[in-house]
């Protein structure tokens, strides 16, 4: 019972015919949700605009003589915001190259997000995508630069190595949880640190160091082990793999016996155990697959964008992935869309800093505020009163710590 109390109130008991708002054309659920999300983005941009204005030098100057020429302040503010957001938009979707750049940025976020989503659906909170990604990148990178194999085979092996690496790091968490009850939140946090220190150490060994260099940087992987790129852009086949992974996760969750078990365990572990499922095994399987997905994101980092292995190979993708998964409400499609949005914001943010010298931290704030508003439709609706009511606020993801 208690497991479901959080979701229940939102489920109308008898929605045989979809419940409609009186006097409003019944928009389908996804459209309503889209509208709310869009409004949330608009609201977030407003918050961002305020920050831009506060931080803008011209505005700072103009405000100094606000009394003398108040319009200056306003126009300075308007210019600052306008230019910044124009750059953001252009950098994100203004042409083929920016779009390719956005998709490239989105690629590992999607896979990382899927890793978090899948675990969520099994009732596990995977803060460890970062560590899993790192281990995946280490193995994929190593196979990529240390081995020299024919085309295709090399890439396949490198990708598999990455998947295995991530799976080991994730599976370990599942195993510990299943066998000893060790809380996955603690274990994943700790393993993230272990992974990064492991990487830093490996980079000082001759097996990983680039020949002729003392710096902790590995060689770039062989051309044979790289994901083929699309034209002149940085976009690579890894993006397609991310989409395939999303479809796979969808299939796994909704059309496979394993996924049935995972979802059941995530929604009600006791009932699942009673129905003969092994909760521990579900945890292990979920974390293995989640780890592999994060590992896939790791391969995209080292096999996709010409990145050698450095201690920065994971950036903050593993953590951003949590936000992406949450924004995507734990569904594969949602995760893809959220990943794309974040990728676009990242790409646009770089352009924005370039053209208007707006710090990248603003992008971070924007991303946080967007998720905050998307997650609180009631708040968005209280600002934009025209928005229709949503049926249910969507899947509530991980519930409490008790899973």
């Amino acid at each position: 019972m208690s497991n479901d109390t959080a979701t229940e109130p939102q489920q109308p008991p008898a929605p045989a015919s979809p419940v409609r708002e009186p006097g409003r054309g019944g928009l389908p659920g996804w459209a309503v949700q889209g509208l709310v999300s869009l409004s949330a983005i608009v609201l977030a941009l407003v918050v961002g605009a305020l920050l831009i204005i506060v931080g803008d030098d011209e505005v700072k100057t103009a405000i100094g003589y606000f009394g003398a020429a108040p319009l200056d302040t306003l126009s300075a503010a308007a210019t600052a915001v306008g230019e910044a957001y124009k750059a953001l938009a252009v950098g994100a979707v203004g042409g083929l190259n920016p779009i390719a750049e956005s998709l490239t940025q989105a690629t590992p976020l999607i896979c990382g997000g899927l890793a978090v989503s899948l675990a969520f659906r099994t009732g596990l909170f995977n803060i460890g995508a970062q560590g899993q990604l790192i281990i995946g990148a280490i193995l994929a990178g190593y196979v990529g630069f240390a081995w020299h194999l024919p085309p295709v085979l090399h890439l396949v092996l490198a990708v598999v190595a990455g998947l295995v690496g991530g799976a080991i790091w994730g599976g370990l968490v599942g195993l510990l949880k299943a066998r000893t009850g060790a809380h996955e939140v603690i274990v994943t946090i700790m393993l993230n640190y272990v992974a990064i220190y492991l990487l830093q150490w490996l980079l000082t060994t001759s097996a990983f160091k680039r020949p002729g260099r003392e710096d902790p940087i590995s060689p770039i992987v062989d051309a044979n082990a790289q994901y083929p790129q699309f034209g002149d852009t940085r976009l690579h086949v890894g993006f397609l793999l991310a989409l395939v992974a999303a479809v796979f996760v969808w299939w796994l969750l909704n059309r496979s016996t394993i996924g049935f078990e995972l979802r059941a365990v995530g929604a009600n572990a006791d009932a699942s155990r009673t129905a003969g499922m092994s909760v521990g095994r579900a945890y292990i399987v979920a974390m293995l697959v989640a780890g592999a997905l994060a590992g896939l994101a790791g391969t995209q980092q080292v096999l996709g964008t010409d990145l050698p292995l450095t201690d920065g190979v994971a950036a903050t993708i593993g953590f951003d992935a949590i936000t992406v998964a949450l924004l995507g409400r734990g569904t594969p499609l949602g995760t893809v869309l959220a990943g794309l949005l974040f990728g676009a914001l990242n790409a646009g943010g770089l352009q924005m800093q370039l053209q208007t010298q707006t710090p990248l931290t603003l992008t971070t704030v924007l991303q946080a505020v967007i998720v905050l508003f998307v997650a609180a439709p009631a708040l968005v609706r209280s600002v934009f009163r025209f928005l229709p009511k949503e049926r249910g606020t969507g899947a509530v993801l991980a519930k409490g710590w008790n899973g």
Binding site: E8, P13, V19, T257, A267
Partner: protein, 516 residues
């Protein structure tokens, strides 16, 4: 206190749970509310207690219209309530639970535990409850928890006391005590609203009976009305209160339990060297007050709780250390006691829940792939067969009423060939109409030659279903008796008496309910 509810209406989404309900409760009256599962009884009472806000309608106390927007207001107006689902904090002690919300404190908000202690002792003495103020609630039996709930309600000096299905977990003797307390309260001028599914109790104590159906008042009756009349009023058709079953044709023993011992997580002995045997084609009922090890017994049979000693064998094969899945595959069907907790996944659809332990097998699962079309087809068939009332197989089970949820669980378990059916509390909280149906399905399964083990605290249910009765007390089986053993005698055995002692005591001191 004179209490009047008029035109109370409450809907959840498109479902109207209460539809213009009028009700008058006179001072010093015991007012029984009857109705099928999901009729809206708890909803009505929750509005009166401020837990739910009515969409429309009003509450009038002693001629004055009042607004009750929270339990706080209700308490202020002298209304107390014992809830259908216990409102106790399991990790608190009895005293903490009782002081919660109106704590006596020293300076600086520091709890005055002594006072709380004294209060518990005083009240439990006054009403003859023996409750240990320092016991953790999660460690005491449900019967005692129920007393704690009642003490909680009484400490507020309630003038109207609402009791929502308080007897579901009590032994006949405990029910007797409760009835005595209710009479005592009534004599002091307290009015009581009493909700129960047990018609015997209603007849024993009610001053007035109101029947609610589908959110509306559908009638009222006098205590003198017969059980059959009351049942018909509730369900809207004639109901067979006795299951018509042929005498059992027991075959070979199917389940054999020897020396089974289970130690619970806290290191207490839950099941103590139990020996049992269930034959093909017979129903063995395990009777007992909740908390005497029946739950653990059933779970141990399914491998959900590890056993400390003893053996379990099915058709001669030793299952003692098999996994739950292997036992299910070996032909055990299981209806768990707490359906919401163990029986189904609330957020899963009806269709998915109908294959919760079958999804791996053909035709539902082929290899890794899940055949959703087969799952849907199965759902349509089961819904039809078991008359599951749902507006769609794709709706979450949590949106079904309790009785229908139970049908889902039973339908799933009975939809595959079984050697043994273990059903715990198969009809707890289920209304008489559904009980009738579920019982007949269980008997049908028996007649098909399945061994059936029922765990129940309801003597009515045991009387209706059992071929033999095993009574458990403190983890031990105190006796296995024929199904026609008088209920008072069973009740005494459930309190620990041996069969002989029970026989003597029951004839000397018959209980109220035993004589109706």
């Amino acid at each position: 206190m004179h209490l009047e509810l008029s035109g109370l209406t409450k809907s959840f989404g498109s479902l109207v749970a209460n539809d213009h309900i009028d009700l008058v409760i006179e001072p010093g009256q015991i007012h029984c509310l009857l109705g099928e599962n999901g009729a809206g009884k708890s909803t009505l009472m929750n509005m009166l207690y401020g837990l739910l806000q009515p969409d429309s309608g009003e509450i009038v106390i002693d001629g004055e219209k009042v607004a009750i927007t929270s339990p706080r207001d209700a308490i202020g107006h002298g209304i107390g309530m014992v809830h259908q689902h216990f409102m106790l904090v399991p990790v608190f002690t009895v005293a903490e639970n009782i002081m919660l919300g109106r704590e006596n404190t020293h300076a600086g908000g520091v709890l005055d535990r002594k006072k709380a202690h004294a209060l518990v002792t005083e009240l439990s003495d006054r009403y003859g409850f023996a409750v240990d103020p320092d016991a953790l609630v999660e460690n005491i039996p449900v019967g005692v928890q129920q007393r704690v709930e009642i003490i909680k309600a009484l400490t507020n000096d309630a003038k109207v006391l609402i009791l929502d299905e308080p007897t579901a977990v009590l032994t006949p003797a405990e029910i007797d005590e409760l009835i005595a307390v209710m009479r005592q309260l009534k004599d002091n001028g307290t009015s009581i609203v009493f909700i129960t599914h047990k018609l015997k109790e209603v007849k024993a104590i009610a001053d007035k009976i109101t029947v609610i159906g589908r959110g509306k008042v559908v009638g009222s009756a006098e205590p003198s009305a017969s059980e059959e009349e009351l049942a018909e009023l509730m369900v809207g058709r004639a109901v067979d209160l006795v299951v018509n079953k042929e005498p059992a044709q027991p075959g070979d023993p199917v389940l054999r339990v020897e020396g089974l011992t289970v130690i619970d997580e806290r290191g207490f002995t839950a099941v103590d060297a139990v020996d049992l045997e269930v034959r093909a084609g017979e129903i063995l009922a395990v009777a007992g007050v909740q908390g005497n090890g029946q739950t653990e017994l059933a779970e141990a049979l399914l491998g959900l709780t590890p056993i400390a000693a003893g053996t379990i064998s099915l058709d001669g094969a030793d299952l003692s250390h098999r996994s739950t899945r292997q036992r299910l595959d070996a032909g055990i069907g299981y209806v768990p006691e707490d359906r919401g907790h163990d029986g189904f996944v609330g957020s899963f659809s009806v269709a998915e829940n109908l294959v919760l332990d079958l999804f791996r097998q053909a035709p539902f699962g082929t290899g890794l792939a899940l055949r959703t079309d087969e799952i849907d087809r199965n759902a349509a068939a089961r819904i039809e067969e078991f008359d599951i009332r749902t507006q769609g197989a794709d709706l979450p089970v949590s949106s079904l009423s309790g009785g229908n949820q139970q049908k889902v669980v039973l339908a799933r378990e009975l939809s595959r060939p079984l050697k043994l059916l273990v059903a715990s509390q198969p009809t707890r909280g289920v209304d008489v109409g559904s009980i009738e149906f579920l019982h007949s399905r269980i008997v049908e399964e028996r007649d098909r030659g399945t061994a059936v083990l029922i765990v129940s605290t309801e003597l009515d249910e045991i009387a209706a279903l059992a071929d033999r009765v095993a009574v458990m007390y403190r983890g031990k089986v105190v006796g296995v008796v024929p199904s026609d053993t008088p209920r008072d005698e069973l009740g005494l055995m459930m309190a620990g008496a041996s069969q002989r002692e029970a026989e003597v005591e029951a004839t000397e001191n018959p209980t109220t309910l035993g004589t109706i």
